[in-house]
C-alpha cells in the first residue's frame, strides 16, 4: 500500500468526498414530477387507449364496420356488430366494444383502418384508467366516439 493510499484511508478522504457529493445534491433541483398536479408532456405518437373519432368535416362517424381492427387485434379485445348505415349507403358499427382491460396498447388496430382522410380508430392520449370494477373497462361505442369520461385525480 502506497503512502498516498494510507493517508487517504486514514483521513477518510473518500468518505468526505461522498459527504460532499450528497451535500451538493441538497442544492440541485429535484427531478420529481408531482403527478396529478403536473403532467408529463406527451409525444405526438404516444399510444394511450384506442378511441374512435368522427370525420373532422361532417362530424359523421368514420368507422365503416370493416372488422379489420377486430381481426388484427392480438388480444381479441375489440368486438363489433355491423349494421346498415341509417339513411345512407355503406355500413357502420351498430355496436363497437373495446375491452380496455385486455388492450395492450400495441396500436395494431390503427394500421389497417381504411377510412379517409383519417383512421376511424386511433391511439388517444388518455392513460388514466383506474376504476372500481372490471365492468367499467368494457367501453361501448358511445363512450369511444365522444370521449370516455376520464377520471380527474387532481383537485
Amino acid at each position: 500500500m502506497s503512502v498516498g493510499t494510507l493517508v487517504r484511508r486514514f483521513f477518510l478522504v473518500e468518505m468526505a468526498q461522498g459527504m460532499w457529493i450528497t451535500l451538493k445534491n441538497h442544492f440541485r433541483p429535484h427531478i420529481t414530477m408531482e403527478y396529478p398536479r403536473e403532467r408529463p408532456a406527451l409525444a405526438p405518437r404516444f399510444r394511450g387507449v384506442p378511441r374512435l373519432r368522427r370525420d373532422p368535416g361532417t362530424a359523421e362517424e368514420l368507422c365503416v364496420g370493416c372488422l379489420l381492427c377486430e381481426q388484427i387485434c392480438p388480444d381479441d379485445c375489440i368486438s363489433i356488430v355491423v349494421d346498415k348505415r341509417p339513411g345512407g349507403k355503406g355500413k357502420m358499427a351498430k355496436s363497437f366494444i373495446i375491452d380496455y382491460e385486455r388492450c395492450c396498447f400495441c396500436g395494431l388496430c390503427v394500421d389497417p383502418c381504411p377510412t379517409t382522410p383519417i383512421t376511424a380508430i386511433y391511439m388517444s392520449h388518455d392513460y388514466e384508467l383506474s376504476d372500481y370494477s372490471r365492468q367499467e373497462f368494457i367501453t361501448q361505442r358511445e363512450a369511444l366516439v365522444d370521449g370516455h369520461p376520464l377520471k380527474r385525480y387532481a383537485k
Partner: protein
C-alpha cells in the same frame, strides 16, 4: 406535609417530566419528517409534501395511520414478551433524558426556582450509559419473542453490535470526563465554561470515536445490520405492526436524540453559546432579553439539531457495512483509538497538574 415542600418535590418534577416527554415526543416525530426531507433532497426527490404545507403535518398523519393499523401478534410468538419488548426498548430511551441539562440557568415561576433539567445526579453520564444499554434487551426480546428466523437473526446481530460498540463508546466518554473532572452532566458543561473552550477541540479523536459508536449503538445506517432490509426484511421488528412497531421506531429516534444530546453536552458545551467567554459575542444569546434559560435551550437545541442532521446526512451517503467489517471497525480501530485517546489525555493532564 408543608405544601411548599410538596410542590417543590412532587409537582414541579412531575410537570418537568411531562414537558420533557411531550417536547421530546414532538421532536422525535419531527425528526422522522426531517429525515425524510433530507433524504429526499439528497436523492433529488421532493419528500412528503401532501399533508399540510410542505408535508408539515406528515408525522401526525403517520401517527394516526399507525394507531389505526391492525395489531398482529404471530400465532407462535411468546405473547407476553412480544408485547413487552417495544415497551422495554422505549423506556430506557426516554429515561436517559432525565439527566440531560437543556439550559444553564434556572428561572423562577411564581416564586419557585425551576432548573431546566429534570435531575442533576453527580454520576449523570454513568446513569445514561447504564440506562441506555438496557435498550438492547427490548430489541433482543422482540427478536426472540417473534419466533421467526429473521427477527432472531436481527436481534442476535444487534446484541453483538451493541456489546462491541459499547466499549469504544464508554472509552470515548472518558476523555471529556478527565478534562472536566466530574461525571455530572451540568458539571461537564460548567467545566467547559470555566476552561473557556468546548471539549471538542482537545478531544476531537474522542468525538470521532463517540459519534461513530453512537451511530452504531442506535442501529443507524451505515451500521443498521440488525434491521438490514435487504437481508433480514426488517430485522428484529419484522413481525411487529401498528403501535408496537411505532414504539420501536420511536425508541430508535429517541436514542438518536439522546446520543446527540450527550455529544452536545460532552463535546460542544451543551447550552453554551460559541466562545462562551468572549464578551464581544454575547449578542449570540439573543434570547436573553426574554429569559437567559431560553437562549440556553436555543443553543442546546441548535447543536442537537446539527447532530441529527449529520446522522441523516450520513444515512443518505454511505452504504451498509458488512458484518465482519463492522466488527473490524469496532474492535480493531475504534477501541485502540479511544484507548489511546484516554492514555494520551491522562498523560497530558498528569504532566500539566503534576
Amino acid at each position: 406535609m408543608d405544601s411548599r415542600l410538596l410542590i417543590e418535590n412532587v409537582v414541579i418534577p412531575a410537570i418537568k417530566v411531562a414537558v420533557v416527554l411531550g417536547v421530546m415526543s414532538g421532536a422525535v416525530a419531527y425528526t422522522t419528517l426531517l429525515e425524510r426531507k433530507v433524504l429526499g433532497f439528497i436523492q433529488l426527490r421532493l419528500a412528503p409534501r401532501r399533508v399540510g404545507f410542505h408535508g408539515i403535518l406528515q408525522p401526525i398523519a403517520d401517527g394516526i395511520k399507525l394507531l389505526l393499523k391492525e395489531d398482529i401478534i404471530p400465532d407462535q410468538a411468546d405473547r407476553v414478551l412480544f408485547i413487552l419488548a417495544p415497551v422495554i426498548s422505549i423506556i430506557p430511551a426516554f429515561a436517559a433524558l432525565a439527566v440531560i441539562p437543556f439550559a444553564g440557568r434556572s428561572f423562577s415561576v411564581m416564586g419557585y426556582e425551576i432548573t431546566p433539567w429534570i435531575t442533576d445526579v453527580n454520576i449523570g453520564i454513568l446513569y445514561i450509559l447504564s440506562i441506555s444499554s438496557l435498550g438492547v434487551y427490548g430489541i433482543m426480546l422482540g427478536g426472540w419473542a417473534s419466533n421467526s428466523k429473521y427477527p432472531l437473526l436481527g436481534s442476535l446481530r444487534s446484541a453483538a453490535q451493541m456489546v462491541s460498540y459499547e466499549v469504544p463508546l464508554g472509552l470515548a466518554i472518558i476523555g471529556p470526563l478527565l478534562l472536566a473532572g466530574t461525571a455530572s452532566m451540568t458539571g461537564i458543561v460548567r467545566a467547559q465554561e470555566t476552561q473557556g473552550m468546548w471539549f471538542f477541540f482537545p478531544q476531537i479523536v474522542a468525538l470521532f470515536c463517540y459519534f461513530i459508536s453512537g451511530v452504531a449503538e442506535t442501529n443507524r445506517i451505515p451500521f443498521d445490520l440488525p434491521e438490514a432490509e435487504a437481508e433480514l426484511v426488517a430485522g428484529y421488528f419484522t413481525e411487529y405492526s401498528g403501535m408496537k412497531f411505532a414504539f420501536f421506531y420511536l425508541a430508535e429516534y429517541t436514542n438518536m436524540i439522546v446520543v446527540s444530546s450527550i455529544a452536545t453536552t460532552l463535546f460542544f458545551g451543551g447550552w453554551l453559546r460559541p466562545f462562551p467567554n468572549v464578551q464581544a459575542l454575547s449578542f449570540l444569546n439573543f434570547l436573553d432579553f426574554i429569559n437567559p434559560a431560553l437562549s440556553g435551550v436555543f443553543w442546546f437545541a441548535f447543536k442537537v439539531f446539527m447532530f441529527l442532521y449529520l446522522y441523516i446526512w450520513i444515512r443518505g451517503t454511505f452504504p451498509r457495512y458488512r458484518y465482519d467489517q463492522l466488527m473490524n471497525l469496532g474492535w480493531k480501530w475504534l477501541l485502540p483509538l479511544s484507548l489511546a485517546n484516554v492514555v494520551v489525555t491522562a498523560f497530558i493532564l498528569a504532566l500539566r497538574h503534576g
